[in-house]
């Protein structure tokens, strides 16, 4: 149920993000989602791609600092409190969220949340218990 996420170190200089995208494009690797966290001095790019192993290899070959992490992707119900229910469930078992971001494939689609938990397995268990829709790699990439 866990999904591999590639993260990259992003220097604070023009063209760096562009170079990352171009490397993946040249190798024919499609980016499912991309999120960017940045400070004045540097940033972190987080990517989910279908063939993460090949993605990692291509990026490393191009000289980028790459790191691969397990994340959890879940859809959130489009009702008030939908998000709060998910957060409550993981909070109750004492799991912390390191970070999260959201995306959707098409307008009107349900939003997909990507989480990095400090204990992914425990979080998945808790989310399942409340019937949350957790996406595995094949469901995610079939969109």
């Amino acid at each position: 149920m866990k999904i591999k996420q590639i993260s990259l170190f992003l220097e604070n200089k023009p063209g760096h993000l562009n170079a990352i995208c171009r490397t993946l494009a040249k190798a024919g690797i499609n980016i499912v989602t991309l999120s960017l966290a940045d400070t004045q001095q540097f940033g972190i790019v987080r990517l989910i791609v279908e063939d993460w192993e090949r993605g990692r290899d291509e990026l490393e070959k191009a000289g980028h600092v790459v790191n691969v992490r397990d994340v959890v992707a879940a859809t959130v119900n489009d009702v008030p409190g939908g998000m709060a229910d998910l957060l409550d469930a993981v909070g109750a078992v004492g799991v912390n969220i390191e970070y999260m971001y959201a995306f959707s494939f098409r307008t009107n689609d349900k939003a997909i949340l990507v989480f990095r938990f400090d204990d992914a397995d425990k979080a998945i268990e808790a989310l399942k218990r409340i019937g949350a829709d957790i996406l595995d790699a094949s469901t995610l990439f079939s969109h």
Binding site: Q5, S7, R69
Partner: protein, 443 residues
């Protein structure tokens, strides 16, 4: 040579400052013998003397100084912390410090007598540069271990002027204090004076609300063009002096009313100028590395200290002010890679040793010095170690904070820490040139 004084010509210790040359030189010789005798109590010099077969009582003329060993900055590090202190601990009255070449500082110790003489030496250049007992002086140097703050503080106290020990920083408060307490004299680094000037000129501040007449600068080298800029911008006189912590701090040389360079306080210091490669004296009046021997320091009798400062000792006759002492030029550069940032001495090796304590960085770094406004800034570009890259912003920020803290611990300065990708910084064969100075200072 200037023959017209810019202000009234005054003295603090007239007889010492204007001593006839023969008398001065025999005093120097006597004091040099005493200094060598004090130094020979230190194992460091005992070993050096033994190696060269020098006998401490064989000083017959002033030229014999050339038979003494040099003392290098690195010798302080190798004899850390107090290998150069020649008196028992109970006779040490004060410690001051300056940057060392690695994480440890260089200590300088004073006896009560040293502190006393230091006050007079500072009073000399302050008085020749316009200070009067009825003045109020704003000291915007940092106090603490830095010799600048306390040296000037004691000198001003000796003259009897009133001190506002405001210390550095917070320029809005500095300017408010200038308006409210109306000091006539300002003490700070020249770059801080530039910043204050910019703030005063751009801040809609009535010049008449500020009583400043003089500024004494120190802590970093500055240029004649900076002098002109600040003097015309603020309508004040700016004065230069010279000193370094290893030899006792400010008060080693200072300008007189004629401004023909800085008079060396030769009754307390002997100057030599050498070629840093051959270590031989340069021809009179030529540029070279300044070597200083303090003659009267009891706590730390350092011999022939190689300052790494480049300058000239003039050989063009007596100054019309009446002082018989020789004069020196401004400092024109360094023979090593020391940087002076906001008055703090920084060695690239200090930054390197701090970086090496941090696990997450590779040994590839680049130091960039710039002056975005009036004040200097250092940016350290560091290649990060790929295995330490984390997708968590918190962990990445922690890495930056650890680097900042290590550098601050070693240098006392906060720098801009810029993490860059591996293999992106220039590589060097042989001696690295890891410092880029974008300030373009011309001395």
């Amino acid at each position: 040579m200037n023959t017209v004084p810019v202000i009234e010509n005054r003295f603090w210790q007239h007889d010492a400052e204007c001593m006839p040359r023969p008398q001065l030189e025999s005093l120097q010789l006597q004091r040099l013998r005493e200094a060598v005798a004090r130094a020979s109590a230190l194992p460091f010099y005992q070993k050096k003397f033994k190696e060269s077969g020098f006998s401490p009582d064989s000083i017959k003329t002033l030229d014999d100084i050339r038979r003494l060993p040099f003392t290098l900055k690195a010798d302080f590090r190798d004899n850390y912390p107090l290998g150069f202190v020649a008196v028992p601990r109970s006779e040490v009255s004060r410690f001051q410090g300056t940057s060392g070449t690695t994480g440890k500082p260089t200590w300088t110790a004073y006896t009560r007598g040293d502190v006393d003489r230091w006050a007079d030496l500072c009073a000399r250049f302050l008085v020749s540069g316009g200070l009067r007992p009825e003045h109020t002086v704003q000291i915007s140097f940092g106090f603490g271990l830095f010799t600048g703050g306390f040296g000037l503080h004691n000198g001003i106290q000796r003259v009897g002027a009133a001190i506002i020990p405001i210390s550095s920083g917070n320029s809005a408060r500095q300017i408010m204090t200038m308006q409210d307490l109306r000091p006539e004299v300002l003490i700070c680094t020249p770059s801080y004076a530039l910043k204050l000037m910019d703030d005063i000129l751009s801040g809609n501040i009535d010049r008449a609300s500020i009583a400043l007449e003089h500024a004494h600068f120190g802590g970093e080298p500055w240029t004649e063009s900076m002098r002109e800029r600040i003097e015309s911008g603020l309508g004040i006189r700016c004065w230069n002096n010279y000193g370094m912590a290893e030899c006792g701090g400010p008060g080693i040389a200072g300008e007189c009313a004629y401004r023909n360079g800085m008079h060396i306080q030769e009754d307390h210091y002997i100057f030599e100028v050498i070629d840093p490669d051959t270590l031989e004296p340069v021809k009179p009046g030529e540029k070279g590395e300044i070597v200083v021997t303090p003659l009267t320091r009891e706590a730390m009798p350092v011999l022939r200290y190689r300052t790494r400062d480049i300058g000239i000792v003039y050989d063009d006759g007596e100054c019309p002010c009446g002082r018989t002492t020789r004069r020196m030029s401004r400092i024109m550069g360094r023979t090593d890679d020391m940087l002076i940032i906001r008055g703090v001495n920084v060695f690239p090796s200090q930054i390197e040793s701090a970086l090496m304590q941090c696990k997450a960085v590779s040994p590839h770094y680049m130091i960039e010095v710039s002056r975005p406004k009036a004040l200097d800034e250092i940016t350290v570009h560091i290649e990060m170690e790929p295995s330490f890259f984390s997708d968590s912003m918190r962990e990445m920020q922690q890495i930056r904070e650890n680097i900042d803290r290590a550098i601050y611990g070693a240098t006392g300065l906060h720098m801009v820490i810029n993490l860059v990708s591996p293999n992106t910084l220039e590589r060097f064969e042989g001696k690295s040139k890891r410092v880029k100075d974008l300030r373009n200072l011309k001395f």
